[in-house]
Symmetry: none
Subunit: 196 residues, 4 copies
């Protein structure tokens, strides 16, 4: 029985999968659980996604695009690199904390545990890193930032941000530490490092 208009089920599957990912994590994600959660038979999922990997891939894809739009939405991205870098950090972390389900599949999943993430999607993933790199390069051109391999610097920055998001999501940060304090401190570290 068709409950909603056709292609909406695809959306519903994706959304429910995200919800379950937050709740139970990737390890405990199962096609049946998704199906039950949306009130359809497990078989139905296969009408919209070839298999579990494909479903997760689609989710990763969405996440990458969302993050990219968020990062590219910054004002004066290349004209005010100092401010932009800080805002990049802000938005990256905000995205992670607000979309932990995306974040987990996007960045914490070991590729060996999934069918290889298709090459063309990796390109999309890399775009995010390139935003950081471009901003750093812009800052370098304007002599606001120290010289040095911009991609490497971008990756180092990303490393810190990723650590921050990961620990906060996994609730591994000591309770005595206020997340906002830590976040600010990490941003300081990052900005200081890129050189302001």
């Amino acid at each position: 029985m068709a409950r909603t208009s056709g292609t909406n089920l695809r959306r519903e599957i994706l959304d429910t999968t995200r919800r379950l990912l937050i709740q139970d994590g990737y390890q405990n994600l199962s096609m049946r659980k998704i199906a039950n959660a949306i009130g359809y038979s497990a078989t139905s999922i296969y009408l919209y996604f070839e298999n579990k990997d494909n479903l997760v891939h689609a989710l990763i894809d969405e996440g990458m695009e969302k993050m990219q739009q968020l990062l590219l939405g910054i004002d004066n991205l290349l004209t005010d690199p100092l401010k932009a870098l800080r805002e990049l950090c802000n938005r990256y972390v905000a995205f992670g904390l607000e979309n932990p389900e995306y974040y987990e599949v996007m960045f914490q999943l070991h590729p060996a545990r999934m069918a290889r993430y298709p090459v063309e999607k990796y390109r999309k993933a890399r775009k995010n890193l390139e935003v950081f790199r471009d901003v750093i390069e812009a800052g370098q051109r304007m002599s606001l930032f120290r010289e040095g391999d911009a991609l490497l610097k971008a990756t180092a920055v990303w490393t810190s941000l990723h650590g921050l998001v990961s620990l906060l999501i996994a609730q591994r940060v000591d309770q005595q530490i206020a997340p906002e304090d830590l976040q600010e401190r990490v941003f300081d570290q990052v900005v200081a490092f890129v050189g302001g």
Copy 2:
């Protein structure tokens, strides 16, 4: 059939579990496999560990202690904080990269997704952070490092290191980046931040 004195089986289970964990990853860890590997029946494990979660908890516990010993084994830990900080970073990352699967279980497993990790074990995990804090405090006392909340700084440092290890383990670092370069850059960032 009692092959060895009683409590040794507990040890054997832990050692084998760790080995299997490092070899095959958490996803592929199963009670049956552990039992087979040590040549006992699966049932026997339950004589020493209430369930799988408990066993894994005990393992995390041991991992934390191992890492602690590794970190505390540094020469002149509190007398040469500058060198010590860099060596702390070195050893932390080395531990993570040498035991990737182990590291994942220790730091990436979401506590809410396992039976609650007992509070007193969290204290042990915290010990590692405290080593970083103590070194930073020592440096501050010797006026080698900038002032500021040492625990917070330690956490920020840890954040970067954790990010580094996580990304490398998950093989998410761009192929154009040499891991050693990235590592050095992150260490620089950390040391610069703590202020040398």
Copy 3:
């Protein structure tokens, strides 16, 4: 969308099914695969065949007819029974070995395990046997063959040929035995038996 004139789809289904059958075997034959292969929806098949069994029955039917035509195409079928008998054997075995999966469905599928194979189709299957019988009878009339119940003799001949094809298809013949040798030996046996 109607791509070709109506009843041609039935033909297309049958042809494709046969192709898939020969390619992948009965076990791997599925309605969805057939549908995909012809570029129609799975549902469409049901417009022409009540269910999978029916489709396969129709295919068996066609196979029987094909074989019959093959057998009836022999020159001087009833005028030179000696040569004809040997050629019958030749063609029967060739058909089996060239279409092993098809052969299996035609002769090895247990009728009780499919929806009852309609009686009138059995008649068509019987036609093949009758070709053998007719040739034997012709030979008897010409005093080339020994007397005796021709249908029974035909069945005995068929028995040997079927055994030969079956064992070769199932790859159960000892590797030391060259298939051609075996085939010749069996033909000799058959011809000798009918009595030349």
Copy 4:
């Protein structure tokens, strides 16, 4: 709950599997069906057989041994080859008709549809053929049978018998033909061929 003494379940599984094989054929044999039929959980089967293939292999093995004992039990096997050959045929066919479930997995299963039947079991399978060969050789030594490659002749004989059994089991023999008549005719054919 242990209903019967331990190792009897293995027996029960094997027997039930045979029963189901007659009923539904290999294609429709499933672990669940077996489990249901014996009133145990599907999981339990895996305590006694590593997987479905292993279970079927065990069955094939049993069948081979049974048949071998049956064939080797003939009196004066090598001293009265003429009688022995006919009795071999008798017993072979009798075995097939009385144990169609064994027969199906033993001789009709295409190896590609199962995990490769282990090599050492193939040896056992070959033993049956060798009984035929040995009798033929004995007859040749006593100048009772015509000369010629005994293994090839044995295989040709087997071919006919296999065809007979297969068609009878699959109920493909025309209803006008009395099975006993056909059987006798085939035996005549065989014996005549080996040369008496």
